[in-house]
């Protein structure tokens, strides 16, 4: 078997992998290898033809392909090695990777690796929607690819289960395509995605929304003919007697994203059961030395801008790991999710340098304070689980951490 080596091998050429590769190369690492399984770099950005990308990173409002283009050009300018249509078949904790493409199988030994595989959508089958199993049930992202990249519409009478961002964007997209979005059905008492999308995709296009409802039956033997929706109780169980049938030819499912960590597990990387992504320190390094993670493989982000920033951090730190140009963090203080906090990334900090941590709340709350034990408190007018919160911990805050501290409790409480 032909054996190759790389200083830094990056798995996934989406926004996280692109930013990681650029930063790693710019940090002075010679041999950066970016591996992408699709035909081209950019990941899912190519099918996101709407705007809303880049407002943080470029201070501009770009479409997905435009946003991707800027990074892809930089990768080309920097002469970073890219393997397209290449699948990672195997990976070991000592950073040996088996790659496969139409030219054959290659084994690559890397000094450091960045996991940037992104995430996948939860399927109808995984959430077990009862009923028949006809054609016409798609995840929202798959439908987005079919419409925007392949050029075909799944149907003309659509019901969307879940109010995630892709679901809302597809509600608008399909309406603009002349299809009728008959309903968006959300099991929670609030919309699952960003407020911005709720305004621009749902309210502006008069999409009927059924909160605290779910799809309880799919009808149609060969092709979707209708769905039954029903109201749910507090335990998210359908309430008998509230069932209503909506005739439709297509059901889109937008019920959440799952980080794709099957390869990470093979590499011995430990996962956080809440985020579904690797447990990382403030350098975005996993429990396996020299394996870093960034973007949606780490935790599902709302904004691509943040994914790019995370990718850059991982790229920079992986470069430091390879060139030994800076000491990576040793000291470890675990961040513990307390009251109304669902998760925090990174899961631990060193307490030595300024850092921005990212977190999500469990429930929406108005007029509340997010607190990192007694070192930091910040007031928020409103928080909701769909909007990720960035919290900067300054040197001043860090100086309040008592010596010997091994964990800090993060919580979100009512009031100021």
């Amino acid at each position: 078997m032909s054996l190759k080596s790389a200083d830094i091998l990056i798995i996934g050429g989406g926004p996280a992998g692109l930013a990681s590769a650029i930063k790693a190369k710019e940090s002075g690492v010679d041999h950066v290898l970016l591996v992408e399984r699709a035909e081209e770099l950019g990941g899912l950005l190519h099918q996101c033809i709407h705007t809303g990308f880049g407002s943080v990173y470029f201070k501009e409002d770009l479409t997905g392909p435009e946003y991707a283009r800027r990074f892809i050009e930089k990768v080309q300018d920097l002469h970073i090695n890219v393997l397209h249509e290449t699948m990672v078949l195997g990976i070991t904790p000592d950073k040996k990777v088996t790659l496969c493409n139409t030219s054959g199988l290659v084994s690559v030994e890397a000094k450091a690796m960045i996991l940037a595989m992104g995430c996948r959508e939860k399927s109808r089958e995984a959430i077990v929607i009862p009923g028949t199993r006809p054609a016409g049930v798609f995840t929202a992202g798959t439908a987005q690819r079919l419409v925007n990249v392949e050029g075909y519409l799944p149907g003309k009478e659509i019901v969307i289960l879940g109010s995630g961002d892709i679901g809302m964007i597809m509600a608008r997209r399909l309406t603009l395509e002349g299809a009728e979005v008959k309903a968006m059905v959300e099991i929670l008492p609030y919309i699952g995605g960003l407020i911005r999308n709720e305004v621009q995709c749902i309210r502006d296009f008069n999409i009927p929304v059924f909160l605290e409802h779910t799809v309880t039956w799919v009808h149609g033997k060969q092709r979707v003919e209708a769905v039954t929706i029903a109201q749910v109780d507090n335990g998210q169980k359908p309430i008998p007697g509230t069932e209503r049938i909506i005739e439709c030819d297509t059901l889109l499912v937008s019920v959440g994203l799952v980080p794709e960590n099957e390869l990470s597990i093979k590499a011995g990387v430990k996962l956080d059961p809440i985020t579904g992504g690797p447990i990382v320190n403030e350098d975005l390094e996993t429990n396996v030395a020299g394996i870093f993670a960034s973007g949606n493989v780490l935790h599902v982000n709302d904004l691509v801008d943040n994914v790019s920033l995370e990718g850059e951090l991982a790229g920079q730190k992986a470069a430091q790991y390879v060139t030994h140009s800076a000491q990576l963090s040793k000291r470890k203080i675990n961040l513990i999710a307390g009251e109304n906090i669902r998760y925090i990334v990174p899961q631990s900090i060193s307490g030595e340098k300024e850092i921005t941590i990212y977190l999500r709340t469990k429930e929406p709350l108005e007029n509340c304070t997010i607190q990192v034990e007694n070192i930091l408190a910040k007031h928020f007018l409103a928080v909701r689980p769909s909007e990720m919160i960035a919290l900067k911990i300054s040197q001043g805050d860090l100086s309040k951490i008592r010596k010997g501290t091994i964990e800090l409790l993060v919580s979100c409480k009512k009031g100021g």
Binding site: S103, T142, L153
Partner: protein, 532 residues
């Protein structure tokens, strides 16, 4: 450029008319499940012109694609024998449970011995699985004792099992519920196969030896015309000397096209669940509770997944009633967790329902007989287990046809061997590289969950797959955890390209199940030219 080029055809004033010549066969087999497939392959050993007609858009459209389909004997069969008692009145004597001369038992015992040769000849992936029947409750211990006693009374292969205690069970199956108190264990009772793969392999080999297959060809009527019968299908008539009714859940409907019958069909359904590959290793073979009246409870390894069957075995009056109910899934999950506690709801990647067919004349037996009014129309109505006895059954059917006048001349060039589509995921790196060097498309992974390459998908199409399910059953593409989320659009694209059809014509499982209904902007064309 897409050929044929319609413009050129117009210029040439070339008029194409459908070919209305009548198809003709010595034997028409109705139904492309395991029963029809096995008969087709048996007939292909002879110089017999056979056509298999299938209602669905693919083979294995009914029970064959939703069954455990294990080839088993001995201890596992004992479980089934006890299960059968549910369908018989309480207190039924042993002779009614086990009739070694009945077709069902005879074929099962012969079939288990015959399959290994055919599995090897046809290159069908198979694995021998160890089996544990385990008991947690006192009630289950009693049931195990009944099984043990039944096995000892029958003797032979039925007594070839071990009684095992808690420690012995946990040593072989460490993830089983620690509360188990007793079990029965057998080593080589079960050959695990993927049922559609086996049925399709039989058909592929029959096609190599001359069989013709018509898909999307629902039979609408059968008439007799002297020496011949005309099988009317939605794809046109087929003239046949002999007709074999292997229509599974529709066998009664097809039989009634010929005469009034004194039997009907009834259907019972069970719930299946497939778990994520990450659960690999949770069980090493099959672990199950002893069957309760009307309840099957099995957790087994299938390839790298875990497959669960749990059935109240409820009656349904519709053989297409494969709807999944929340309660049944919840029950199946609870059962599976009781057997293997670390199984969780998050592991589920698919749920589906299988429908089993029984005839109302004798719920314990098959019906293999010619129609009273037509001595060349043979009803082959198989009850479960349909896979184990399929090979002896097919031989029996061909003998019956021969006795009824079908001339059997051995096909001198009969080729008993068929090569499977290479399974990239199962190959060593060395084999993979060799494959890619021969055909680079084997290096292009399309289904990332199950590691299925474009080369495999194209090979499946070359062998007759015309739908997404056809690809799935032949290659496993789309069977993994993301459920076609990634490979779905790509498989549609490849099918359209290879079959030279529009993606709008690509279906899930036949004519009525298209994935895509319009081109983008296709719904906006109405407003073209309108003043807005």
């Amino acid at each position: 450029m897409r050929y044929p080029n319609e413009e050129c055809l117009k210029n040439k004033n070339l008029k194409l008319r459908p070919d209305r010549r009548q198809l003709e066969a010595d034997v028409v087999i109705i139904g492309g499940g395991i029963t029809g497939a096995a008969i087709a392959r048996e007939l292909s050993k002879y110089k017999v012109n056979t056509i298999l007609v299938e209602k669905g858009g693919e083979l294995c459209a009914g029970s064959t694609k939703a069954t455990l389909g294990n080839i088993y004997r001995g201890l596992y069969m004992l479980g089934s024998l006890i299960l059968k008692s549910v369908l018989l009145p309480p207190g039924t004597p042993l002779s009614a449970l086990y009739d070694p001369n009945g077709l069902k038992m005879k074929w099962c015992e012969e079939g288990f011995k015959e399959w290994p040769q055919v599995l090897n000849d046809l290159d069908i992936k198979h694995t021998y699985l160890p089996l544990h029947f385990v008991a947690i409750t006192e009630d289950q211990v009693q049931d195990l004792n009944k099984m043990r006693d039944l096995g000892r009374r029958l003797g032979g292969i039925y007594a070839n099992f071990q009684e095992v205690n808690r420690e012995q069970i946990l040593e072989r199956e460490p993830h089983v519920n620690k509360d188990v108190v007793a079990g029965l264990y057998a080593e080589d009772n079960i050959i695990e196969i993927f049922p559609p793969e086996a049925a399709i392999a039989l058909v592929e080999n029959a096609v190599q030896n001359g069989l013709k297959v018509m898909l999307n060809a629902e039979v609408t009527g059968i008439s007799k015309n002297g020496e011949y019968q005309i099988v009317q299908t939605v794809k046109g008539p087929v003239k046949a000397r002999f007709v074999v009714n292997a229509a599974g859940g529709y066998a009664d409907k097809v039989a009634r096209m010929v005469e009034d019958i004194d039997w009907g069909l009834q259907y019972r359904k069970t719930q299946f669940m497939i778990l994520d590959r990450r659960t690999k290793g949770l069980v090493n073979g099959i672990v199950r509770f002893p069957n309760k009246p009307g309840l099957i409870q099995v957790v087994m390894r299938r390839e790298d997944n875990i497959l669960i069957e749990c059935g109240p075995y409820g009656l349904t009056d519709n053989c297409e009633d494969t709807e999944t109910h929340s309660q049944l899934v919840a029950d199946a999950l609870a059962m599976a967790k009781n057997l293997v506690p670390s199984i969780s709801q998050n592991d589920i990647i698919n749920t589906f329902t299988g429908v089993r067919v029984f005839n109302t004349r004798d719920i314990e037996e098959h019906i293999i007989e010619f129609a009273k009014v037509n001595p060349r129309f043979l009803n082959v109505v198989i009850r479960l287990p349909g896979f184990i006895g399929a090979l002896p059954m097919a031989r029996h059917v061909v003998e019956m046809l021969s006795e009824a006048g079908l001339k059997l001349t051995v096909r001198p060039d009969f080729n008993p061997h068929r090569k499977a589509i290479p399974k990239f995921r199962d190959l060593s790196d060395e084999e993979r590289r060799e494959l890619i060097s021969k055909n680079p498309l084997f290096g292009h992974v399309v289904c990332r969950c199950e590691t299925v390459t474009e080369g495999e998908i194209i090979e499946a199409i070359n062998r007759g797959a015309i739908t997404e399910e056809g690809i799935k059953m032949r290659t496993r593409a789309g069977m993994g955890r993301c459920k076609r989320g990634f490979c779905g659009p790509r498989v549609i694209h490849i099918l359209a390209r290879e079959l030279n059809i529009s993606p709008l014509q690509v279906t899930k499982r036949g004519v009525d199940s298209p994935f895509l209904l319009f081109r983008s902007k296709g719904l906006l064309q109405k407003s073209v030219g309108k003043v807005i």
